[in-house]
Amino acid sequence: MRFNTIVYCLKQGIKNIFRNKLFSLASISTMAACIFLFGLFYSIVMNVQFMVKEAESSLCVTVFFEPGTSETRISVLGQQIAGRNEVSHVEYTSADEAWDSFKDVYFEGNEEYAKAFMGDNPLINCAYQTIYLSEASMQESLVNYLESIPDVRKVNKSELTANSFADFGMLIGYVSGAIILILLAVAVFLISNTVSVGITVRREEISIMKLIGATDFFVRAPFLVEGILIGLVGAAIPLAAIYYLYGSVISYVLEQFSILSSVMVFLPITDVFRSLLPVGLILGVGIGFLGSSTTTRKHLRV
């Protein structure tokens, strides 16, 4: 295709937007609303995932071993466990470290009583491995594995917490996904309507183009450009709004509900935008393209 044909199609696409100002404005507004809500849910999902991840990273399973299991054996088992998919990392606590840690807490203020145990560790069989999970949902399979090891005496786990994290993350994902899908379908419908109006307005011009030998692509291209531009502008506006509002909203939330600041850690906007910006723009362009291409395909059989 020639360069001047591309320029012509681009110019015509831009002109189309201004020819149907009201419809274009309606499409851009709807698209902006959809992408804004998308951005909102996307940010929420990212933050929830981030918080779940943070919480998961502190989620651990503690493994105690049978009396008489040597430190070498425990160390070997620790390495085996650390190599599994479910495991983020493993920390070993020897019997002496366990006692030191326990007595510091238990005999606080009465340290002289602890001296009575000098040379006699009551937790001699309580060396343990603390296993941090890479994902909360994997806890069950890991626990099953750990319990199947002969040298393992006891596995301490936190069933409720693990499932809650996984379920909450999934729930947020499903709800957001459903809302986003509905919004995107509305956006496709509206862009399709705008392009339909454009085609109706330009029906005579299109029939002249076809009669003098314009290819289908030449006729369609300006409408595709129109749809893509509407999608692009409709995506850029809400993304800019989210960029500037995000920080303020988080500061406001933390200020108003200061209790949250201890349990909630929000992602910085740059982290959210690293993926939201390309996803939002591609989505806008994609919806614009989809709406206009299906409509032109339907209406331009001259």
């Binding site: 009669l211 003098i212 030998g213 290819t215």
Partner: protein, 249 residues
Amino acid sequence: MSPWGSRKLFLRGDIDCIYGEYEMIVFENVSKTYETGTPALNNVNLKIEKGEFVFIVGNSGSGKSTLIKLLLKELEPSGGKIYVNNKLLNRMKRRHIPRYRRGLGVVFQDFRLLKDRNVYENIAFAQRVVGTPARVIRRQVPSMLSLVGLAEKYRSYPKQLSGGEQQRVALARALVNNPAILLADEPTGNLDPRNSWEIMRLLEEINKRGTTVLVVTHNQEIVDAMKKRVITMHKGLITSDEKKSGYHQ
């Protein structure tokens, strides 16, 4: 070298029939019945040679415009075969239609100019559609405007022109891509006698330069005066086909 008639309608090797090199348009037993059941053409047989000037006359509903639409591939025949420059139109794939149409020039009774573009842009549009480079457009559009006598009105918009001038713009647009065939459907239908003659003079000039010209018309005075081949149609049939003839009802 003639500036018109040189455009090849098809690529080399795109030959479907054994008609000689002189036939430009051939209808073999062509019928057309619309979806409503209305018959428009009934077993029409017709041959038009390259470089001919042909009038197609007849009452309303006689099938003249259907014949033009079949040639433009706006309609498909219900039966029979249509060859243009030895290419069978019936078998033509949809994606090849634009290339075929670029070899045709079309003029309509209602001019069909783009109202939001000036004279220059209307003609340039036809070249832009077929991907002509901008420098060629800048060279050819003024020369085409000179030919139709509108060089000084290149910046005017259609509504600022008379009917005759608008039809001349439409003619310039039809010719700017060097078509092998010019199809004119009632080109003088909306014009006064003086402008009608001006358009006919231009069509004759174009024909002399090698373009095959088909004119559908009701204008008896012009048909009688020009002494060209006249095909008369009635209720979808060709009732007479005479060379250097006049208007028959």
